[in-house]
């Protein structure tokens, strides 16, 4: 048996013994996702056990070094772990912006002390992070942000407001872009800072969305003290960190378009709702659209796999995060449009147990934000045109 084979066997056996049966199904509602944090309340004993076991194994962050709570897996092993998790439809033990967004820049640009302070609690799901990027007047033009940080020697005093903070009211700490030089060019006066959201002067206000839910907040900072040792990278050098983090955020959002363990295939839902005749879906027009969608979904998953293989082989194209973000989010919107069509009248129920309290229509509405958050589809296409195709601009 090769090393790869034995790693796969070991992984499969461990998951078989440790992933609770109730954690092997797609999410049915939002509470099924576990976000950790100081105020975490587990939905079930299984959910808690699943997280704790994966944490102990280092598998919430499998590729991070062991000293930061990871398992130090190489690319090949991480791919196997992912395949084995998806083979049994295992839910992610932890959803975390600390893992998907802050972790990578902290590992790449953070000092040893900052990494030691922040990474292990992220890996264990103890601290929930919020992102302070967009401002009311800095959306697609993010670098024009105006949140003000005044230098007080050993610390900054920060004033201003952020918007579209995902789960801002549930965050424990925030990573945040602030302006530390108002005279420099817009990209050159930004710093990347982190602070505890329990600090005096921080407040949030939920934003009610078309889905009726409030997954985002406005976040207000009034004379908030931020320590200077909580800056990643150089002061006024935050834009580099910000962009690096954005590539990871975009990969995360784009990845939601590829088929994954968290959701049923559209064709399966269609077969259950519409039925088949001689093995053919009864509605042949919607059938063609589903087939087109599932083809693209498979293409995207394969291309993400190829991109990882290229990184391993050292022949990576580079700035592909924007392409994946664009493709994946447009695909995810198509997924929900098809699900809404396939379920017909049943998809329109807003409340009630039979429809899991409108999980589908609410998810459909939520998906409309995918091609806006983390940089709109149009911004991603601009980036592809400029950086990958070299078009003038």
């Amino acid at each position: 048996m090769t090393d790869t084979d034995s790693f796969r066997k070991e992984t499969r056996d461990w998951l078989e013994a440790n992933c609770p049966e109730s954690m092997r199904h797609p999410y049915r509602n939002e509470a099924d996702a576990c976000w950790g944090g100081r105020n975490c309340s587990f939905q079930s004993e299984d959910q808690k056990n699943w997280l704790e076991r994966m944490v102990a194994r280092g598998w919430t962050v499998p590729t991070w070094p062991e000293k930061y709570g990871g398992a130090g897996l190489n690319g090949e092993q991480a791919k196997i772990l992912k395949e084995e998790l998806s083979r049994i439809n295992a839910r992610p033990p932890l959803e975390s912006f600390g893992i998907s967004m802050l972790g990578p820049p902290l590992l790449k640009f953070g000092t040893g002390e900052l990494r030691q302070q922040h990474l292990p609690p992220i890996a264990r799901g103890e601290i929930r992070w919020a992102q302070g990027y967009s401002e009311p007047n800095a959306g697609s033009d993010l670098a024009s942000l105006q949140m003000r940080a005044d230098d007080m020697g050993d610390h900054f005093v920060v004033n201003g407001s952020k918007i579209w903070t995902s789960y801002g009211d549930l965050g424990d700490w925030m990573f945040c872009l602030v302006r530390t030089d108002f005279d420099a060019k817009k990209h050159e006066g930004i710093s990347f800072v982190m602070f505890d959201m329990a600090t005096e002067g921080v407040s949030t206000r939920p934003i009610k969305l078309i889905s009726g839910k409030s997954p985002f907040t406005e976040t207000f900072l009034e004379n908030v003290r931020v320590e200077k040792n909580q800056v990643i990278g150089k002061i006024n050098g935050g834009w580099t960190i910000a962009k690096y983090l954005l590539t990871h955020e975009r990969e995360m959002i784009g990845g939601s378009g590829a088929s994954r363990a968290g959701s049923l295939p559209v064709s399966k839902v269609a077969i259950d709702s519409l039925g088949t005749e001689n093995g053919i879906l009864t509605d042949t027009v919607v059938r063609a659209d589903i087939a087109r969608f599932e083809m693209d979904e498979h293409c995207l998953a394969l291309t993400m796999e190829r991109a990882r293989d290229e990184v391993k082989a050292g022949v990576s194209l580079g700035a592909t995060a924007s392409m994946f973000k664009y493709y994946g989010t447009e695909l995810n919107k198509r997924r929900y449009e098809l699900l809404m069509s396939v379920k017909g009248q049943d998809a329109l129920d807003w409340e009630g147990g039979s429809n899991h309290d409108g999980f589908l229509p609410k998810s459909w509405l939520r998906s409309k934000a995918n091609s806006i958050e983390g940089g709109t589809s149009e911004i991603q296409l601009n980036i592809v045109a400029k950086h990958l195709l070299g078009l003038p601009g």
Partner: protein
């Protein structure tokens, strides 16, 4: 398996690209057309391909082949797509070799495979009988006649049929389907060549009570469907590789043009309306690259083709190469419509390959069936 070419495969790609750019760029196809070459390909160029061992790529070593696999063959075909170079590589060296290697008897392998490797034998698959690809709709019959069979029927749109010395023919044997190897010079075979819109040739082939021996049966009697599907799937992956080359070349030429062409005092590539379409096309082509390499590796790894993956690949490549070549014309503007300019050749070749062995609709339907809906 990693979805990246290894070093040896990259060297093959580079050498194929250099050779084709030097010896058979698009002007080569234009020359064949303008000189009304009746073969539609250059036998001189073919002998150079033979020297490089290209037709031997798939042939097992014991029959003088290189046994280099489908991935290697696909790499060469992708480069042929970039230069639109006509040759018997797809129908003979890929499909013919795969058919004989998989289903051929010992005698057939010995007789034919080394001839394929040396470029002397040229094969064509004669399966379609209606204008739209429908390989199961067969009226051609093979009736038992003494020790052999008598084949009668009419096949249309036989790619490379105008120069093949041997046809792989699908025919009804009772209620089932069987495949036969029929020499082009057998009594009762009539070949009518015709030119198609990309200046390549195709042929309608009539079989009028053609006598063949039992030893001409390819694979088992009444077992033709699975062999035919395999050969077609191999061909579909080959066509997809060629379509990828076409899409890439048309796209790269177009992006260059967007940077050069000035209107309103600026390069037209600075306009967002064109940038976004180009960026979208870039993303679609990246998806296609993953499919082609995956499908080629699948053929190398498995004895039978994965129908779902093949249909996905052919459908997506047909769509994307179509988009790339039609956008190429639109973004080049008026000059793209002229015969003097090469970009129109890509549009035409693409349209042929889109249909060959099943178009987007055919494979969309097959993909859904394979997935159980």
């Amino acid at each position: 398996m990693s979805l990246v070419l290894n070093e040896e495969q990259m060297m093959l790609r580079d050498s194929a690209r250099d050779f084709l750019k030097g010896r058979a760029p698009v002007s080569h196809l234009r020359g064949l057309r303008d000189s009304a070459n009746a073969d539609g390909f250059s036998r001189e160029l073919w002998s150079e391909m033979v020297e490089m061992g290209w037709p031997a790529t798939l042939v097992p070593e014991k029959y003088d082949g290189l046994e280099y696999g489908f991935t290697g063959m696909g790499i060469i075909l992708e480069e042929c797509g970039r230069t639109l170079t006509p040759s018997p590589l797809l129908c003979t060296s890929m499909m013919g070799a795969a058919a004989i290697a998989k289903a051929g008897s010992k005698a057939q392998r010995e007789d034919i495979l080394s001839g394929i490797a040396s470029g002397e034998r040229l094969l064509a698959l004669a399966c379609d009988e209606s204008p739209r690809h429908a390989p199961q709709k067969v009226n051609t019959v093979a009736v038992k006649n003494g020790a052999g069979f008598q084949v009668s029927g009419k096949k249309i749109a036989v790619a490379d049929g105008h120069f093949a010395d041997m046809f792989i023919v699908s025919a009804k044997t009772g209620n089932d389907l069987s495949l036969f190897l029929v020499p082009a010079d057998a009594s009762g075979v009539t070949v009518e060549p015709y030119q198609v819109l990309d200046t390549h040739f195709s042929a309608n082939v009539t079989f009028d009570q053609v006598e063949v021996e039992e030893s001409n049966l390819l694979g088992v009697l009444n077992g033709g469907v699975s062999t035919l599907n395999y050969v077609l799937d191999v061909g579909r992956v080959g066509v997809s590789a060629e379509l990828l080359g076409i899409a890439l070349e048309a796209f790269e030429r177009t992006v260059e043009y967007l940077k050069e062409r000035k209107q309103f005092g600026v390069a037209i590539g600075s306009f967002q309306a064109l940038q976004h379409r180009a960026a979208h096309l870039f993303a679609e082509i990246e998806m296609c690259k993953s499919l082609v390499i995956k499908a080629l590796q699948m053929l190398d790894e498995q004895a039978d083709a994965d129908a779902e993956l093949v249909s996905l690949t052919k459908a997506k490549l047909a769509d994307t190469a179509h988009l790339a070549t039609t956008e190429a014309i639109q973004m080049h503007g008026g000059i793209g419509m002229t015969d003097d300019f090469d970009i129109g050749f890509f549009l035409k070749r693409c349209r042929i390959l889109e249909s060959l062995f099943g178009d987007h609709y055919f494979h969309l339907d097959r993909f859904a069936r394979e997935r159980g809906y």
